[in-house]
């Protein structure tokens, strides 16, 4: 097609209607002149029409030819195919509904999980030249990469870097900002001097933080912070004079020097800090803790860098390798530490960082990929199912297709038409799936990142997600459509028209492919069901294993006391007042305190030992009076702590059963002495209590010890009240708030979480995977049932006359039923066998997600096969029963 032609055609595209009328005007003009001539030549008026037609030809045919000429042939064909396909789909609403539903499910699930993967693993940071960014880690010979740096390492890297334009560090933190009445908790981030320079995003107002600000005491103008556009909106009402205003953070005034635009999210895509403060202000913001002075004992920083233009990652790594040792020696004079690190060939490594760093990534990568494969399985299943149904339908349409081939349609044309049909299904399914995906991915993200870990995930649709959806649509269209289309249009035209459904030989051959499809469908479904069974069983076992305390009707109320005035015994008296206030609330049965909420992923450990014995690693907590009764942890021996267990009364410790057995094997632990390794303090064992899970539900309860809060080394411990209630605790939140406002007006409003929530969060990955896999397995069973039923129903319908003849010749109805049923039974049995073999191989990949469940758990395997067999039997029985009801005479007469 020449350029000129293309131009004219495109032009005509925009004046289609006038084109058509011009063409008919042109043809009419000619016919009018022709009639004049003919009547002048003596043709009778009654014969004029016929004569005109004879000389001119069929005017409407010419008109059509001309219009065609001006159109894009293939495009117009496509449109015609589309409308034909739409008509065909409308004519079989049952098929269409099943097709769309299964595809919506498959595409929706895939896109939802993909957008999670996209948000967490794929999307680059929205900063200029993100590909120049790197994330730094430390190699210490361990199996896990270590991304947590201490201050001395980072400061050395920051000040001597050749390969990097900028090196920066950050730490997500919660800032206490003074509001109108009390301090409020605001998510924030401590960032080093080169952080903003490296991320190269211009502030909306004012300036960003510079190395000048990242010094003790701040720049000469004082302590500076940068806020986000969102914070500027909610806190300052978008006041234009926000730059220069004060924010009191941790009781110290900071100056707002700039506002960052909304698109700036920092270097961790799963965090959304509202305030950025200089790293050097950590002693103020995290007071009384001081991560900077803690030196090599505080591994709190994530370190990133921007490469010098033109420098490759390999070059950067070479340069890092040479500085690693000097930096290690500079960091500390602890010879033991340096020696140990040198033994494992400690060195720094830079890895690609265009996507920033997120600790959530390390945690959720594998569950997400596992879920993604489950979803892909469902989509494949949906496609196989549709291919099977289309093939069955194609077989029913074979006479139509053969006739079209015979009257001159090319095979390519028919395949195109059939593919258009599947493309239409796929597109509609994808569109519906996309709509569902947006909702699903948001709730999935919420399910996955639940809890107070402060994670957020942007799962919005972007080019990558849409591209993925388009890819899915096309792939599934081809998967669904191509094989059936090739099958349906193959073969000899004459045979088809002559013999119709009696073309026996071809029929035999043609029955194999649908069977293969169905068998793979059954196999795939079985794999999914086994996976779901394993995950669900594991989840149930995990839940049943219990945490060691009674989590029901238990509420945690977290008080942050680190920025108020009271400390030591005075603070303890305040806690006591809070406890008394809380226990007076209606519905409250018991109140106590704990430093670490179990299973909240926080922890504290130390080495303790019997006098003269090797110290052992133990997990610790400091708890209030009546703690074990409140938590319903069995108290085997000894007594609860009381408010009288002050520092002056001698150090006390309570051991759990495992710790007691570890420190005093075969002995009575109660009343014994326990020595802490570092401080050499001696504790007296006052009780032995039941084991509880500490950080992780999946790990068995570790040996742990409890000390009274009154003897805690911290001056201003921030404790959580544990409250045992009877029934719902609706009023407790406001009661706790007003109580705190009255007794400790300076602290932020206390936050409530029920212990069940904490537990759910601790199992969120398992819960999500179990829920999803069970849902997917249910869908897989349903889809397989539809496939088995649909294919068999079509096949049986096509054999109506054969069955009629069999019955006329005396076949029993029971035998006919078996005959039909056998078809699917064979397919289902073979499919199950293959599926079981695959499941045995694949389920090993799930092993790391399973708790107390073998990936080859026989009950799960047997149960899955049984469930699948049951579903398959029901789906196959219906067409079989229908076949048995065929009236022989009616069936034969139909031919």
């Amino acid at each position: 097609m020449s350029l000129h032609q293309l131009f004219l055609k495109i032009q005509s595209l925009f004046r289609r209607r006038s084109m058509a009328s011009e063409i008919s005007e042109e043809l009419e003009f000619h016919q009018a002149l022709l009639r004049d001539r003919l009547s002048r030549n003596g043709v009778l008026p009654t014969e004029l029409d016929m004569a005109t037609k004879r000389t001119f030809g069929n005017a409407s045919r010419w008109q059509e030819r001309l219009i065609e000429l001006w159109q894009f042939g293939s495009l117009e064909n496509l449109l015609r195919d589309l409308s034909f396909s739409a008509r065909m789909l409308r004519k079989s609403p049952g098929f269409t509904a099943v097709a769309l539903l299964t595809l919506t499910l498959g595409v929706g699930a895939n896109t939802a999980v993909f957008s999670l993967i996209n948000g967490l693993l794929l999307r680059p940071l929205p900063v200029p030249q993100a590909e120049q960014l790197a994330v730094l880690r430390m190699e210490e010979g361990g199996p896990q990469p270590n991304y947590s740096f201490c201050t001395p390492f980072f400061r050395s890297l920051e000040s001597n870097h050749d390969a990097f334009a900028d090196v920066f560090a950050y730490n997500p933190d919660t800032l206490q900002v003074q509001g109108r009445s009390a301090n409020e908790n605001i998510p924030g981030m401590l960032v080093s001097g080169q952080f903003f320079r490296a991320l190269r995003t211009a502030p909306l107002l004012g300036r960003y933080l510079t190395p000048e600000d990242d010094r003790p005491g701040g720049s000469p103008e004082g302590l500076a912070v940068v806020v986000t556009e969102q914070f500027w909106e909610t806190w300052f009402d978008r006041a234009p004079d926000v730059v220069g205003r004060k924010l009191v953070i941790a009781n110290v005034p900071f100056t707002v020097v700039g506002v960052m635009p909304k698109r700036f999210i920092g270097a961790d895509p799963t965090r959304s800090p509202q305030i950025f403060a200089p790293l050097a202000t950590d002693p103020i913001i995290d007071a009384p803790r001081n991560h900077i002075d803690d030196g090599i004992h505080a591994w709190w920083l994530t370190v990133g860098a921007r490469l010098q233009p033109g420098v490759t990652l390999a070059q950067a790594n070479a340069s890092l390798a040479t500085v690693s040792r000097p930096i290690l020696h500079q960091a500390s004079d602890d010879a033991e530490f340096i020696g140990e690190e040198e033994k494992v060939h400690f060195h720094f490594v830079a890895e690609p960082g265009s996507r920033g760093f997120a600790d959530a990534r390390l945690l959720f990568r594998r569950p997400l990929l596992a879920m993604f494969s489950m979803c892909a399985g469902i989509l494949l299943l949906a496609c196989l199912n549709l291919a099977g149904l289309l093939m069955a339908r194609g077989a029913a349409r074979e006479r139509e297709l053969a006739t079209r081939l015979a009257i001159g349609a090319t095979r390519r044309r028919l395949i195109q038409q059939l593919l258009v049909e599947s493309l239409l299904i796929a597109t509609l399914g994808t569109a519906a799936g996309l709509a569902v995906a947006a909702l699903v991915s948001r709730s999935l993200a919420a399910l996955l990142l639940s809890g107070d870990s402060g994670w957020q995930l942007d799962t919005s649709l972007d080019v990558r997600v849409l591209g993925f959806a388009a890819f899915i649509a096309v792939t599934s269209a081809v998967l669904i459509g191509l094989v059936p289309a090739l099958e349906a249009t193959a073969g000899n035209v004459n045979d088809q028209i002559k013999d119709g459904q009696h073309a026996r030989q071809r029929l035999e051959r043609r029955r194999i492919l649908p069977r293969v499809l169905l068998a793979s469908e059954v196999a795939l479904a079985l794999v999914l069901v086994v996976g779901a069974g394993l995950l669900a069983t594991s989840m149930v076992r995990l839940f049943k294993s219990g945490p060691g305390f009674d989590p029901h009707e238990l509420v945690n109320i977290a008080f942050r006391m680190d920025k108020q005035q009271l400390e030591g015994d005075a603070l303890m008296r305040q806690y006591q007042q809070l406890a008394e206030g809380l226990s007076r609330q209606p519905g409250v049965k018991k109140v106590s305190f704990e430093f670490i909420v179990p299973l909240s992923h926080r922890g504290w450990n130390g080495r303790y030992g019997a006098p003269g014995a090797q110290p052992q690693l133990m997990y610790m907590n400091s708890v209030g009076p009546d703690y074990f009764a409140t938590m319903r942890i069995p108290l085997y021996q000894g007594r609860e702590f009381t408010w009288a267990d002050s520092k002056a009364s001698g150090l006390k410790i309570t051991l759990n059963r495992s710790a007691a057995d570890l420190l005093f094997p075969g002995e009575e632990a109660l009343g014994q002495q326990v020595i802490e390794e570092r401080s050499h303090s001696t504790y007296q064992v006052v009780a032995v209590v039941g084991d509880t899970k500490y950080r992780d539900m999946r790990e068995p309860a570790p040996p742990s010890g409890y000390i009274p809060i009154m003897q805690d080394e911290q001056k201003k411990p921030s404790l959580s009240a544990v409250v045992r209630t009877d029934g719902p605790q609706a009023g407790l939140a406001s009661a706790a708030r007003s109580l705190a406002a009255r007794l400790a007006p300076a602290i932020p409003a206390p936050t409530l979480s029920t212990m069940n929530e904490v537990l759910n969060d601790a199992m969120s990955t398992e819960r999500m995977m179990a829920l999803l896999s069970v849902f997917f397995a249910g869908c897989a069973l349903l889809v397989t049932a539809i496939g088995l039923y649909g294919t068999l129903a079509y096949a049986t319908a096509r054999r109506t006359s054969e069955i009629g003849i069999r019955m006329a010749l005396g076949a029993q109805r029971m035998r006919v039923m078996l005959l039909v049923f056998r078809e699917n039974a064979l397919v289902a049995t073979i499919g199950s066998g293959i599926g079981l073999a695959i499941a045995l191989l694949v389920s090993r990949a799930l092993a790391s997600f399973l708790y107390g469940t073998s990936p080859h758990d026989p009950w799960v395997l047997v149960g899955s096969v049984a469930a699948l067999s049951l579903i398959a039997s029901v789906a196959s029985l219906l067409p079989a029963v229908r076949a048995a009801r065929i009236e022989p005479m009616a069936a034969i007469r139909r031919e």
Partner: protein
């Protein structure tokens, strides 16, 4: 579509005849058909509608341009005229035809 007394004329030939008809100036479709019939002394009879696909194809290829104007009896009609490229093509085609027909005549007269 276009019939000689025996057999069909190939498509290219019809297009050549159209170009020739328009060599003397713009004509509408009816006039083209008339001219071909008359100047072939009624030997070449076109199924007249078949003229139009050829006309439109030539227009699409840029060999003809078309314009709406008034006919001799004052009706709106679409007039076709040769473009520069069309004229070039006409020359090339007539030379080719002359060579071809001479050669065919030569063969047929050979004893």
């Amino acid at each position: 579509m276009i019939r000689e007394e025996s057999g069909d004329l190939i498509q290219g030939t019809l297009e050549m005849l159209i170009l020739k008809a328009l060599a003397r100036g713009p004509l509408h479709g009816y006039a083209v058909a008339e001219w071909i019939e008359q100047s072939s002394k009624q030997v070449l009879k076109v199924e007249e509608g078949a003229l139009y696909p050829a006309l439109h194809r030539l227009q699409l290829r840029g060999l003809l341009s078309a314009e709406w104007g008034a006919s001799e009896n004052n009706r709106r009609a679409k007039f076709y005229s040769l473009t520069a490229e069309g004229r070039k093509r006409l020359n090339a085609e007539s030379q080719r035809w002359a060579r071809l027909s001479a050669a065919v005549a030569f063969v047929m007269q050979a004893s």
